[in-house]
Symmetry: C2
Subunit: 122 residues, 2 copies
């Protein structure tokens, strides 16, 4: 699957659509989810054009990948999530429930996030 | 928090406790979760002693981190999860629901995994 230059996160990266920015550096942009599912719900996206966590792992450079996961460490510190913890979720494809075809890591916190899977999904 | 040498995943890495291995290389070990929450439920752990996704991002070398996420790409291909997709979850601390203090990425697939958060957690 080719990367879609018009997905909403590509537009946010190009500054064509605004976001509520949380953190930015040369590797990532992080912003608040517009439909938060927890008291804290942040999306972290790489600046490079990767569709999914697996493609990013395969195609991303070691520097880019280190930069991405270092940024997550900085973001959870900045947002005060280290003491009580948080959940990171990356959805890929239909079964994962991926909604935007640009790799994004959800960071959820601010309360106990609960079970990983809905009962009826098992 | 210091790394606990006696956590169950440290014991699995040392071969003191068996696991149902899915994949192994110099960077990671992957095995089936003993209490699967989806038709496919794999845990991927780094061989290095890291407690959480954020600590791994901060303290892991670029080579180790690239190796970890490249392994995820190989595992989802090997297990036939690329076509329909999957969900990756990393739980950290109390709010995340982390149960073992060695960083592990859950890979869930084989059906639609459902919502990311239980309704009553929001």
């Amino acid at each position: 699957m080719a990367y879609d230059q018009n997905n909403i996160f590509a537009k946010i990266l190009r500054g064509e659509i605004p976001c509520k920015e949380v953190y930015s550096d040369e590797y990532v942009l992080a912003f608040h989810d517009i439909a938060p599912q927890a008291p804290v719900h942040i999306l972290v996206i790489p600046r490079g054009q990767y569709i999914s966590i697996d493609e990013f792992g395969r195609e991303g450079s070691a520097e880019e990948i280190k930069g991405f996961y270092t940024a997550i460490d900085k973001i959870v510190a900045q947002e005060g999530l280290k003491e009580n913890g948080f959940r990171c979720i990356a959805n890929t494809g239909d079964h994962g429930g991926q909604e935007v075809p640009h790799f994004h890591m959800h960071i959820l916190g601010g309360c106990k996030i609960g079970r990983m899977v809905e009962t009826d999904a098992v």
